[in-house]
Amino acid sequence: MRLVTRTLGWVIVLLWIVTLALPISVALSLMRLAEGKNLGVQEPTFNFFDGNISVNMPVYINNTGFYDISEPNVAIKIYKVKVNTTIVSLSKSLPSIPAGQMVNTSCSFTASLMEIFHKDRTLLTEDTNLNVNAQLSFKVAYTIAFNASLNFSTRWGAPFHNISCVLAYNDTTHVFSISISFNNHAFFPINGLLVVKLYNSDNIQIGETSIGLDVPSGGNFQETVEVAADPSKITDRGFIRLFFTELNILEMEWTLL
């Protein structure tokens, strides 16, 4: 019995040493990693292609610590300040970094603008403040997990800011002249077809046309398009709807004087 209790005593002492030494050595390991230029993030590049926006950020980590860094993950969540709804949620897992090795990798995120605008259409036409939550998580020694999160706010520039339509109707030719204008406040250019659809008061389509858009970031757009309407369906009042890649960006009522 005495031998058992003595052995148990030694096991307990050993386990306490391991338990207390592990967090201390992990802290020292992280301090070694943080000093010098062991961590680096290069300038991110933004690409806009086929309705998707992608951000690519090269990262290098020189693990000078004592332990492997496993399950590194970067997550970004963007949400609207007022309504607190998540607009986009992105996550990227990075490769594990063994102790004493350097890893060069890139952190790239892709988001569909159409999905973003489907979630909140006001983002198409209204500038607003967006909250960003960026999180970095990883495990050291496969045991202790760390998570650092940063919250900041960013300004969203609407691609169709201040969009307006002015209609004029020629009753001899039955053609509507529609003057469309907007400012592209977004950080990306707008390329694609803008579809203009006219409806009568019974919500029946009376005419349609489309116009190709190529508006650079920060640019203004102002153009007049003509829509030939079906005279048999024209009523005194109706609706005009503007679509950009199947997204309804504007709906307003028109009245014939």
Binding site: L8, I12, T143, A145, F146, N147, S149, L150
Partner: protein, 144 residues
């Protein structure tokens, strides 16, 4: 004569109390040093002073009680209770092994559930050891 002179068991008890006080005082100095070493680093945790006071006072009490109960079976019972106290304290103080620190816009979370599990296992081993020692103590005859 016998009324004036203290009885041998009273003297023994007095000696035990003094010894327990001295042990507790020495242990208190150790906790005081730990407080000075850690307070500057852990001042960001608002609940740290309260948690530190709880563990320090708790363990000082057990040091006093265990030293006082030397050569009795209560020593081992107190050791087992101390291990239970440590399990409860560690689980509560570390919020189940997840510590969170929120500064203005930055939040840090450290998750060490496996480490906490190991600490609980160690304390369970300590309870088992205390119980075995208590059985051994009870099994011994006064002559032994």
């Amino acid at each position: 004569m016998s009324d004036i002179e203290p009885k041998p068991d009273r003297r023994k008890l007095g000696f035990r109390v003094v010894r327990a006080f001295l042990f507790t005082a020495a242990y208190a100095v150790f906790w005081f040093i730990i407080w000075f070493l850690t307070y500057t680093f852990l001042a960001s945790f608002p609940e740290y002073p309260q948690l530190f006071t709880t563990i320090a006072c708790g363990l000082l009490f057990f040091t006093f009680a265990i030293t006082l109960a030397e050569d009795t079976i209560y020593k081992y019972i107190l050791k087992a209770i101390r291990a239970f106290f440590l399990i409860a304290y560690l689980t509560y103080a570390t919020k189940g092994g997840i510590l969170t620190l929120n500064l203005e816009n930055i939040g840090f979370t450290v998750e060490f559930v496996p480490l906490l599990a190991l600490m609980i296992v160690i304390n369970l081993l300590d309870i088992a050891r205390a119980l075995l020692q208590a059985i051994e103590f009870a099994a011994q005859s006064p002559k032994d």
